[in-house]
Symmetry: C2
Subunit: 624 residues, 2 copies
């Protein structure tokens, strides 16, 4: 038997008993301490730096660490294996603070309240020797009188029916779930409980998970809770997780457990705070990208990343909660919104439901920028979609001081003409790094002030903030004494190149969709921007950089978290379920990875704002 | 922590580690040693006598034991609690030998082979970038081409589909189960496996369980296995088990486990012997009385024994094997044949299916005598049914030397005019006791030779076999030196009274059904006798005693195990499922426990053959 050792994490003072030999990163996962680990613990990203305070662990690699850092006790959490009782300090820059997660969103309002679960109060005739049909038949007889037919009962319900019927004088309330073609009796309770009917709508994001608790009798969202997807520990983006699922032992099952426990934790918190039992929640709808849905249900995601990119399923059946591990009423159902392909998932279907793009007369475009970028173009008659791997440049990846939109992230930047920096951070604390909207602001300001050229190179302006760094030129955003990380916070030309690639991919996606349908940007009459990134975005600055198309800013709507909104719509109105299926049936998917037009568009977009400045008249005007 | 002790059972030399303090009976259950225990371990029946060979157990009661027995070390297994390592000898008379279980039966032959599960071989188009729909959609597309629609997939199937499709070049075989309104994909396998499709048909008897392994491609029964229902340890009849389920801690769950493990054990033995994996078996149909089905599924049986005798359900849904604990393919289904009431269960429906009584033009009667007696009267237009608690007189209960039809049981008896006994035993070994058919023979012979009168009293004939015993007169069937139990084997007048009550109950049931429909015995054109008891029965002798109605013996058919036969019919031909439901819809149930006509009929039948000898013309002739 392997010995167990104690690992203590500072500054939170959380300790955990673990098997000797496991990595500090794994210990952190089991302790619930969030350490940045974009590469999924493969020693490749260098994000998981921690400081060893006590213990003599086995250190497998010192890559990504400067000599100075090594001398200060820095190690990579993923490459350091505990051998004895160990104490670890997780420095600010390696911590995943609690995200500012987009919980709700303003979306189309519900037409009709017609939820996927409903309750029916019944007064059953007590049995006599003359009328001695079974408990179940008595209930069915009563249902038939109300013309509720074709119901199917579950074993757990049969196990309790006898006692429940007799508890409150043959008065009971049945809960039905419409799971596909049949209506299933999910629960039976004594007395009249028709005023209590709940569901949860879930956004299974790659990075964060949002759960809404919904009162299905009123259609109101009662409460909402969000947290990191615990899978973050196993890698930042979907490809890293697919690799983990397919190549690590029990990888898939670990990833499944991580997301299921994230959702369960949030449901449990919501139930507690609102005085409910978890079994009072009878239905869950969820939207996520195709990989997230695969990992959530334990479906093999291997083919998603291998040409020709085939998922196990896009249209999933209703699945009993008990089978998924989700701790609501175990006879209740879980339904994941259908997706279109491996890279245009149920989250995009939810976005479309939330915007009603599929009902618009006019040409509309939806842009969802997250770790991936997905774009949909269309109207009530047709839709085309595509996905580009935007890269996590706007979510803290690929940029040295890039962090997610968490406390301490710079979210707004303006520059004075002599390039002095004015900024604000989330939570008004000392800056830890720059998040997506801050990067857009910063680049646009540098560009507009002539400190960055169209090719993304920094120009000498005389400001001491522009200097030669290790990787070419860099711009000092914050001097070390103002930061929380005791270093100058800089943006290098390498960082700028990465951001440029991301924005080029998004723009090129929009462009390809339009061209393939013979439209121009100016034909667009509605432009929806979705995703956590969206709500903090300055449209004009995004346009100057060439991230978003240069159309009238009035045409833009920010829909925030469309995934949870779309899930909620399906939960509350069963007709939305058919709409969701209709959306994926109707929508064409264009695979960009083999699309030459995309590569041309992408290359042309590798300028600020674009090689063809005429596509960006407002930027042209500004630069004139 | 409680200490564990070792208990060894002789003569089988089986030993088991158990918790200190549990009863010898419980230890025997966990060791798989069968000890008779009609009262379910409540110290009431005195059947569980064993001999203590070593150890110092706590003995809670010496009831039912003679002084002589106590001095020889006899204890009641259920009232003796082990405190240290213990050795126990289980004497012949307390052992449950392996039954001669009626495994198969000659019944209606199958019309059409149209089983509840079927397979479909598919060659799927491999994906390309142009045709990149999901794995599931590819399969569904192929099914649609074959006009197989409205299928629903299970999560376990989705979990494997990706690998299975790619294993043998996109050639796969799907298994479908028709579970209610939908057709469910139960399994997917690589390559063409359409020649392998199996199901099991099960008879869940109160005493014994029979499992047939059926090849669903040919309709042939491949193999058959039978064993005691492990629930026997918890009590002999359904009422004792209901009491155990409702009054003992975890009683229901113990009973459920006992029957599920009995069935699993038999399935596992059949699979092994025939070179199958258990997951190759995709469907199970089962027939049992209403209580057995409740206990099997873990449904609360409490109301079955309480006026007005209401079961949880008579018509059960299809249930996933995984949910029942049955170890066949976990996505496969278990279906229990529908019953009519708490005391006319799915086993009777199976009997009817097996006889085609429900399709007969002529008036037909079905008599199923087991621990209970059930009678059905009717034809293709109508059916009435009833149940009487016949008592276990013919199954080893209520008769001192009565045993089940196991090895060592006397099954045939004839008497010479001077009352010398000629007999044969099952297995041709020394007699251990008398089973049902032996008792019928014996009583009929005594009656015919004038040694027993109509009231069931023994008459002095000069034979030394008729003597005064502890409980009035008795007839010595076997002298002690010929037996295996070292005692004279006797039949007392008390035993005879018990048998008379049983036969009176069965006959009265037949009589009530006829009278309530305004028919006479002579109107019957077909008479089916079912149950383990049936096949050994001498019809004429049963008639002389007034157990079976005095009609032309040519009208009698013995159908043997109708429960397993009916289950098999449903498994092989889905139209039989609808017939089964139609049978229970059509059949009227008459509750005898409150029926005054029944009490009159019963009382009149408390004679051999009957108070009204004219009802038994052939007996009248014989006695004349
Ligand atoms: S280097 Fe440790 S997680 Fe990437
Ligand atoms: S007396 Fe022990 S089982 Fe009945």
């Amino acid at each position: 038997m392997s010995k167990s050792v104690l690992v203590k994490f500072h500054p939170d003072d959380i300790q955990v008993d673990v098997k000797k030999g496991i990595s500090v990163l794994e210990a952190a996962i089991s302790a619930g301490v969030y350490i940045d680990s974009i590469c999924g613990g493969r020693g490749k990203c260098g994000k998981c730096k921690v400081i060893l305070k006590q213990g003599e662990p086995r250190v497998d690699s010192k890559e990504h660490l400067t000599e100075d850092e090594v001398s200060k006790g820095y190690v990579l959490a993923c490459k350091t294996h505990v051998q004895d009782d160990t104490e670890i300090l997780v420095p600010e820059e390696s911590r995943l603070g609690l995200h500012q997660i987009l919980k709700s969103s303003e979306v189309v309002s519900l037409g009709e309240l017609n939820p996927l679960v409903r309750k029916q109060y019944l007064e059953i005739e007590p049995p006599t020797l003359e009328d001695n049909v079974s408990d179940l038949s008595r209930v069915e007889r009563e249902l038939e009188e109300r013309e509720i037919c074709d119901t199917c009962v579950s074993l757990p319900m049969l196990k309790k029916i006898s006692k429940v019927l007799r508890k409150k004088d043959w008065k009971v309330t049945l809960t039905f779930a419409d799971a596909g073609r049949e209506s299933t009796v999910v629960d039976i309770e004594s007395g009249d409980t028709t005023d209590k009917l709940y569901g949860v709508a879930v956004d299974i994001g790659t990075t964060t998970v949002v759960v809404e608790l919904v009162d299905l009798t009123s259609g109101q969202v009662i409460d909402c809770e969000a947290d990191y997807n615990k899978q973050v520990m196993f890698g930042e983006d979907v490809l890293t997780r697919i690799l983990y699922a397919t190549e690590e032992e029990k990888g898939l099952s670990k990833l499944k457990k991580a997301i299921v426990s994230t959702i369960n934790y949030l449901i449990s918190a919501l139930a507690k705070r609102n005085g409910l039992r978890r079994r009072d929640i009878q239905f869950m709808t969820a939207a996520g990208n195709t990989t997230m849905v695969h990992l959530f249900l334990g479906l093999d995601p291997a083919q998603i990343r291998i040409d020709p990119y085939i998922p196990v399923a896009n249209n999933l059946p209703f699945i009993r909660a008990g089978e998924t591990g989700i701790k609501i009423n175990r006879s209740g159902y879980v339904y994941c919104l259908p997706g279109r392909s491996s890279y245009v998932g149920g989250d995009i279907t939810a976005d479309i439901l939330a915007t009603n793009l599929h009902k618009n007369d006019e040409l509309s475009m939806l842009i969802d920028v997250g770790t991936n970028g997905e774009v949909v173009l269309g109207n009530k008659d047709w839709m085309v979609s595509c996905s580009c791997s935007a890269g996590p440049a706007f979510e803290g990846g690929e940029v040295d001081f890039g962090i997610r939109a968490t406390v301490g992230a710079i979210e707004r930047v303006t520059l004075t003409p002599d390039l002095e920096v004015k900024y604000s951070t989330i939570g008004n604390v000392k800056p830890k790094g720059i998040c997506g909207s801050g990067l857009i602001d910063l680049l646009a300001e540098l560009f507009m002030h002539g400190a960055m050229n169209k090719a993304g190179q920094l120009e000498e302006t005389g400001s001491k903030r522009i200097r030669e760094g290790d990787e070419g030129k860099e711009f000092v955003v914050i001097w070390s004494d103002e930061t929380n990380i005791k270093k100058d916070m800089v943006l290098s030309e390498v960082d700028i190149k990465n951001i440029m690639r991301t924005k080029a991919a998004v723009y090129a996606s929009c462009s390809v969709l339009l061209k393939s349908m013979n439209y121009k940007f100016t034909d667009i009459k509605k432009l929806y921007v979705a995703g956590g990134f969206g709500n903090y975005l300055d449209v004009r600055k995004s346009v100057y950089l060439g991230l978003l198309p240069d159309v009238d800013t009035d045409l833009y709507s920010f829909i925030g978290n469309g995934a949870v909104a779309g899930s909620r719509l399906v939960l509350l109105d069963r007709s939305k379920l058919e709409e969701a299926k209709e959306i994926v049936r109707k929508m064409t998917y264009i695979e960009l990875s083999v699309n030459t037009m995309f590569y041309n568009e992408f290359t042309s977009a590798l300028f600020f704002p674009h090689t063809d400045i005429n596509l960006f008249p407002s930027a042209k005007e500004l630069l004139a």
